[in-house]
């Protein structure tokens, strides 16, 4: 299979969706810019025309509302927010409108809109240009949330999102844009709600999202060299999420660590661990753990950014703690 970067895989999905479905159009900021959204939208306006690839005023609420309205009128719009932080201005059309529409009208209508937002953090951009807010949407019935970690999933999940028939939030991460991987040339779907088993292992289940899934694979490699056999599950969809695969894995390993590069409180990791606690607590031989951001906004200074963002080493260290490989950090009662 041919190899593409994550950013190129996204662009290819857009191109093929625009080419194959006249109902698809794209609206959002930066779509005609050579740098705004990396290479993930490069020249799509040239290829498909500026009436279907629409760079917009600084009007997140109106563009998102318009995309929802167009979806209700039969189109398959994709609205793009170059940063997740900006999407906060568009919460009403997403949560109050799109997410509720099918239910409010007893399934007689739905808003098949895709809201793509980009996690774009680091680089001393600080609190308002760094946020990963998937947890907001996890909370709300009626909206699906996908977070691809590989080029293959980046393409396949965008196609699935556009064809799903429901509002879907598609969240990609600038820190993954240069990752490469095999991507089929034709358009294909990655099913929403199905996780991917990235590595089989016996000792611990590491469930991760997006960039942290890529980091978890690296961490598992490092752990293997230290004799720890980690199973890595890339969640891919955080709503709905693949509970079956996670439960099955935890029943095998007896240990669960969830890595999500967002705040711990009320987040994806909390949800996964709560579900496992409710349904498979007796399989656990150690306390579950989370690798998330500290419960603080993103700092600016390089000295603070360095300790703010978790990486593969953070995951590896957390697994070692869970397995009591470092005596000092072993919580009483968790040794298996």
């Amino acid at each position: 299979m041919r190899s593409l970067t994550y950013a190129r895989a996204i662009r290819e999905a857009f191109a093929q969706l625009l080419a194959s479905d006249p109902r698809v159009f794209v609206i959002g900021q930066g779509l005609w810019s050579p740098w705004y959204v990396g290479s993930s939208m490069e020249s799509l306006d040239v290829e498909f025309g500026r009436s279907r690839v629409i760079d917009s005023p600084v009007s997140e609420n109106a563009t998102t509302g318009a995309a929802v309205g167009a979806a209700l009128a039969g189109m398959r719009p994709i609205v793009v927010h170059p940063r997740m932080d900006f999407m906060v201005l568009a919460i009403d059309p997403i949560i109050n409108q799109a997410a509720n529409w099918s239910y409010m009208f007893a399934g007689k209508a739905s808003a098949p809109v895709v809201v793509r937002s980009i996690i774009n953090r680091g680089g001393e951009q600080a609190a308002q240009h760094s946020q990963a807010l998937q947890a907001f949407f996890l909370h709300v019935p009626g909206v699906k949330v996908v977070m691809p970690a590989t080029p293959y999933d980046a393409k396949g999940l965008l196609a699935a999102a556009v064809r799903d028939g429901n509002p879907v939030l598609y969240i990609d991460d600038r820190w993954l844009y240069q990752e490469t991987g095999g991507v089929p040339e034709e358009l294909y779907e990655v099913p929403i709600g199905k996780a991917a088993l990235r590595r089989e292992g016996r000792d611990v289940t590491v469930v991760a999202t997006s960039f942290m899934a890529a980091q978890a694979v690296v961490a598992a490699g490092a752990l293997a060299r230290r004799g720890v056999d980690a199973e890595v599950i890339d969640l891919r969809s955080v709503k709905p999420w693949d509970k079956e695969l996670v439960l099955e894995s935890v029943r095998k390993t007896g240990r669960l660590l969830v890595a999500d590069a967002a705040w711990a409180t009320g987040g994806v990791a909390a949800e996964v661990i709560a579900s496992v606690a409710c349904e498979a607590a007796d399989s656990l031989v150690a306390r579950p753990a989370r690798v998330c951001l500290p419960d603080a906004p993103a700092p600016m200074s390089a000295s603070l950014e360095k300790v703010y963002y978790p990486r593969s080493e953070t995951i590896a260290r957390a697994v070692e703690n869970m397995l009591c490989l470092k005596e000092a950090s072993c919580p009483t009662g968790s040794r298996s």
Partner: protein, 333 residues
């Protein structure tokens, strides 16, 4: 003098505005070099070319009046009296910065001179400025609030809701739109159907004026009248100050360097340099060239000293990472 009639500007007053503009220009050129050299890494949106607006508008304010800004606010901070060293250290991400290294260029703060915050979410501080004006109305403290924002910010609902709110309650606030004709890579008429931002004032029942933003004296005159109205309890004014940013949207480069082609406009705008304009105004009125040169040397020395201070300052310690999430924790402010 009758109302509406402009007093002849005072030479010393114009000299002070000129000094303000020089401080902004020279500080930003320094920041541009530091970014280029890789020493400053946070996103810096340069105000070069637009200095006349901050200098003119802030010259109409008292020290304790409020100012709010956005991502491109070095100029607002300095013009209102923010400390040069505090800004420079902040841009470096140092603990001695005006936001203690929490914000960088896009988050400046100097409450001692009324800067309640500059933050980069476009239009975010427009309603906040309405809020400080509301506070002044409720408390009767006599202060005026100024919101600085770009042409792009007028595309957010925040702007229209805020002008209406301020209009209906006659709040003491100035909406200063710095129309530099671009929002990142997009020209004004790619984002709106008409070049008429100032008319939003009239539509909301308040005065709206389009003025030359590169003329600090003219900006000051318009701002002074708007401030007077505000203090009299007659409500807000919208000033659309027409100007041009010389550099790219973010960073020290010129637009073409990052692949954005603006029309051939820059060559028309360079001769309208607001700093050169006030310099020639002063020279024509008998200020010696030597005096202006001395002023420039003095400002350069101030900027260099601030850079040295920033370099020598420590970074925030790792123990700072989770402090101040809530105010009052970890020793309060």
């Amino acid at each position: 003098m009758r109302p509406g009639e402009a007093a002849a500007p005072d030479r010393d007053f114009v000299l002070r505005m000129h000094r303000t503009m020089l401080r902004i220009r020279i500080a930003e050129e320094q920041i541009a070099d530091l970014v280029e050299a890789g020493e400053v890494k946070c996103p810096c949106h340069l105000y070069i070319g637009q200095e006349g607006i901050a200098a003119g508008a802030c010259a109409a304010l008292r020290r304790n009046d409020y100012v709010w800004g956005g991502h491109r606010s070095h100029g607002h901070y300095l013009a209102k009296g923010g400390d040069m060293k505090g800004m420079m250290a902040e841009v470096f991400g140092k603990a001695t910065g005006c936001s203690s290294g929490r914000g960088g260029s896009m988050h400046l703060f100097a409450p001692e001179v009324g800067i309640l915050g500059t933050v980069p979410l476009v239009a975010a501080t427009i309603p906040l400025a309405v809020g400080s004006a509301l506070a002044s109305k409720v408390s009767g403290d006599g202060k005026v609030s100024v919101s600085f924002f770009g042409d792009g910010a007028t595309e957010e609902g925040h702007f229209h809701e805020s002008v209406n709110l301020a209009a209906v309650y006659k709040l003491p606030v100035l909406f200063v739109c710095e129309n530099n004709f671009y929002s990142s890579h997009l020209g004004l008429l790619e984002r709106r159907a008409a070049d008429n931002i100032f008319k939003a004032g009239e539509a909301h029942g308040v005065p709206g004026l389009a003025i030359d933003g590169n003329d600090a004296i003219g900006v000051h005159r318009a701002a002074e009248e708007a401030v007077r109205r505000a203090r009299r309890g007659e409500g807000p004014t919208l000033l659309e100050c027409r100007t041009y940013r010389w550099r790219g949207h973010v960073g020290p480069s010129w637009d073409t360097d990052v692949g954005v082609k603006r029309k051939d406009e820059l060559k028309d705008w360079l001769p309208k340099d607001p700093v050169a304009r006030s310099a020639s105004w002063l020279l024509e009125r008998g200020v010696a060239k030597a005096a202006l040169d001395a002023l420039e040397r003095e400002v350069r020395a101030e900027v260099e000293e601030a850079v040295a201070f920033a370099r020598a300052s420590p970074y925030p310690g790792e123990e700072e990472l989770c402090t101040h999430v809530f105010h009052g924790e970890n020793g309060g402010a």
